[in-house]
Symmetry: D2
Subunit: 331 residues, 4 copies
Amino acid sequence: MLRFGLFGAGRIGRVHADSVTAHPQARLVAVHDPMQASAEDLAGRHDARVATDAEAIIAAGDIDAVVIGSPTPTHVDLMTRAVRAGKAVLCEKPIDLDLARVDACWQDLEDDGGTIMIGFNRRFDPSFADVKARVDAGEIGALEQLTIVSRDPAPAPEGYISSSGGIFRDMTIHDFDLARFLLGDIVEVQAMGANLIEPYIERVGDHDSAMVLMRAAGGALCQITNSRRCSYGYDQRIEAFGSVATLTVGNLTPTAVRRQDARGTEQAPPYLEFFLERYTPAYRAELDHFVTSVLRGTAPSPGFADGREALALADAADESLRAGRAVRLDG
Amino acid sequence: MLRFGLFGAGRIGRVHADSVTAHPQARLVAVHDPMQASAEDLAGRHDARVATDAEAIIAAGDIDAVVIGSPTPTHVDLMTRAVRAGKAVLCEKPIDLDLARVDACWQDLEDDGGTIMIGFNRRFDPSFADVKARVDAGEIGALEQLTIVSRDPAPAPEGYISSSGGIFRDMTIHDFDLARFLLGDIVEVQAMGANLIEPYIERVGDHDSAMVLMRAAGGALCQITNSRRCSYGYDQRIEAFGSVATLTVGNLTPTAVRRQDARGTEQAPPYLEFFLERYTPAYRAELDHFVTSVLRGTAPSPGFADGREALALADAADESLRAGRAVRLDG
Amino acid sequence: MLRFGLFGAGRIGRVHADSVTAHPQARLVAVHDPMQASAEDLAGRHDARVATDAEAIIAAGDIDAVVIGSPTPTHVDLMTRAVRAGKAVLCEKPIDLDLARVDACWQDLEDDGGTIMIGFNRRFDPSFADVKARVDAGEIGALEQLTIVSRDPAPAPEGYISSSGGIFRDMTIHDFDLARFLLGDIVEVQAMGANLIEPYIERVGDHDSAMVLMRAAGGALCQITNSRRCSYGYDQRIEAFGSVATLTVGNLTPTAVRRQDARGTEQAPPYLEFFLERYTPAYRAELDHFVTSVLRGTAPSPGFADGREALALADAADESLRAGRAVRLDG
Amino acid sequence: MLRFGLFGAGRIGRVHADSVTAHPQARLVAVHDPMQASAEDLAGRHDARVATDAEAIIAAGDIDAVVIGSPTPTHVDLMTRAVRAGKAVLCEKPIDLDLARVDACWQDLEDDGGTIMIGFNRRFDPSFADVKARVDAGEIGALEQLTIVSRDPAPAPEGYISSSGGIFRDMTIHDFDLARFLLGDIVEVQAMGANLIEPYIERVGDHDSAMVLMRAAGGALCQITNSRRCSYGYDQRIEAFGSVATLTVGNLTPTAVRRQDARGTEQAPPYLEFFLERYTPAYRAELDHFVTSVLRGTAPSPGFADGREALALADAADESLRAGRAVRLDG
């Protein structure tokens, strides 16, 4: 049995709380959130206690592991303290928006030998995980061209966007990790951005639409398409084009109902609305991997280095977009 | 080169005229239709002459083969005369609406050794023909359950319905032939009909909706679904359920465009409107089979007996529907 | 909070136990099964007690409702006793294999005013339920032709088949209920059966393949296709053909991965294996409907009469198949 | 009636000859090809004469229009001479591999006011044309992101590749034109190439795999994916992502047959093999547009300038790939 403390009682915190409670070998012990009411509500629904400050979780003797689902700026501090207190850590992405700070954190923690997993949930989506397993098993021959499409149903509000670190660090970071998951190290990045949707996104210096090209160390090419708005719901697809076969993952619909009429045929319903709906099974599988790894004493994956590399790719994309040239990464 | 005379310058006559002209080894020589203007128009567009009466085609020395696309009541007479005149015959379905008359015709012609092909166009649809070839090759193991869906986009007018011989002889007859094409001889028929669409169809004693169950001599089961009206276009599908695999044929769309929006996803356009659009390649392949068979001196298929059997099944379905019981056919 | 006793710790009993435990307003209190070890194992995993005989559940003061997941011959007795003891009942289908016994049970219970729900899980499948809601809302106009396909992945063993009551009472009964769910009362039945798969099924006097035609009181037609074996998994589809639109429900795949290679394109994985996988969400929704209804004091649906009617349709299909004629039901 | 001369009796010449003959208002009069035997064979099958040199077509009084389907290096010369001789010209892409030569040709011809159409066949594919019409009609709102996938089934031989001008001028040029067709002018290009398939492609200094990002003058983004080899056939897809809806065009299969078995479900056949099969209707529609335009005295499209711009984009992609930076085009 793994006993959990949870930082953050917001949307993503609630997802993790549900996963912990549903897991037969995990239990939620305490919740902390500066919004006391949120913490109380969430703790109440899970028979957990409210921790009035972070230290009440860090120092608790009856807590083995923490989930960090609080705002990004708190991640490095909480992760560092939790590792030093001997707790296993499952931290939401990104580790931080500043690569230098991430590297400093790593230098700090390296000698502690702690257990850190970064919450790149898509690796645990049953379809994406199936593609990974089949690619690794050699089913498609050499993976030559990877295509990732990731579009949100609607843009986040200005307040969120302005502190998000920009589209590459906030949104594309999931795609950078998915690319590394399937292709390994990336050595070259080119990016293009545009402002087509909401004026406030341009006002805060960000882009609402982006396309990225990447080259993997093994030679394969990859492209990513992002948009902050998609008329037909959350658009999450990949295509792994191989030398002897190709695997694709399409979007998911809430039911298997199709409609035919004078206007059209084979009409499926809109896709699952957003990440909470689309990735429900992924969040469960992610937590299961974390729990199982910790209980067995093996290293969970993706780890700290994966979180670091995804951020480095976001930085590279940003630089490419601004400089109008390809950016090479040190292999 | 096979030189053709054509009876009937209506909708189906024009389809056959196009097929003849497009075929490198066929040529349209003469057209006859009681509607002189139609005959002239069609003949004009194909550099053919107008035959002022049927005999002008039957007796013509420069005509090797005839296509009978005139109204059903004329089929037996024209077929008989053409065969006796030594011409190969491609006759539209059905041979006649009266089984006794069909059998009498057969007795008449048996000794003449003529070449007769019945125009069951669906056997030549590339998808249905592919299913047939793969079933014959053993790809699905034993064919155990055959499902045929056939729905027209909109009911024919009262005048057509009232002289059509009823839904089984007019519409289902294609499905009866398709069932025999894939399953061989049929030994038992059960049928149910309903009037759900147009009052005039009931008024003339016909049904606008029907479902039929059949058992093949080899043991397999078959079901047919018909409707005289279909909101999304011409609905023509089959499913060949086998012991180790199943082959299905879905409907065809005019383009490969799909639409996604807030109302739905993967929205295809309405299906191809009706038989002229859906079976264009089938009509071409049908004529090619006829021409090739005649030029090679082999028997084209489906032949007279196939036309006779499909009509016998229509009679059996009619009897089953009226008597409310299964009707067995003499194997 | 609704406190449950469970009869039957077999495959379906375990499904219901999981649903009860997962429901926030339900709790599993006791389990009874003549196989003591099964009862202990299941009770242990749900923090419930083992009831050494049925009466220990019937008479228990801390139990409000029972789920009857024991073998069919026990249903009537357990249902009767539970209702008389004031407990709400969720009983697996079929109520019994003998219509006379079902009617006698009903006469017995009528005056008790008990709460009985029959476990026709498919009504609660999100896709089928969505079709029902949209049909009821008038979205497709008049429902004119209903097609139901239901095929098991592999035949049950001889022991199961021989005491199953035959394919219509054991397997098609779900389809009969689904037909009534969407079409209302059925007034005419025609059936055809075949033995194509396993000799032992014929040996015990049953069929492994069946097709059924039905007419609804409102005039619509319905067809059902069944097979005890399906090479590509559990085949569960419907088509609700309406006057202005048609809704279909296709099969479900475990992932959204598709494969393209030299052998073929758009290749989806085999469908979800069997009812436990296909109808997981349906079982949860079924229990939720039962719990909510009981707690609110409303009648859950489908009720006893629905269980009775589905069995009457199975009897009619049996009679039609044996007599080779249409069987009419008293509306 | 438009009377045609044809330069080139190879694969693409034969396609155009078929289109001319099938067109009711066009007739093939003469064919020229340095391979006399090819010219004779093709002319023979179309009742046309063989022109022993190009001039015999250029100077012929009974020829109104020419199709230039000879090797690329001959295009500029033949086009120039034909225009000066007053003949309408349908010239295969590309005009030439050297942009300077194209511009010089244009300067030469500008004052002649001739009729020139460039054979970008994809604009006439029924699905792509439908997308164009619907985008122009405002159906998807603003077109924000265009995705084009174009992969050949197998790489051309070394001899072809070495004189092809490279993947961007030979293969991507179709995609550049398609992008311009849907998005209008392009202002920025980034490209990445790789050698993953055949060593001889790298040996001659070309790439076998490529990805391109582009920005349109209106702000939209576009990406192109190319490969010289595709295991599942000719891969030709587009996605037009708009602000209120998205239209996609998938690949085409030769039949509508799908297979289900223990290995997988919904298995479609491999896609249509290559451009001759995939774009048959497009070639017919292309010729029809040319014939209709010339007979009506209107300018056919795409014209010379479109051929020039597609080549300019290929040059820009080449430069971007070599310099590792974004290349801007003068709007």
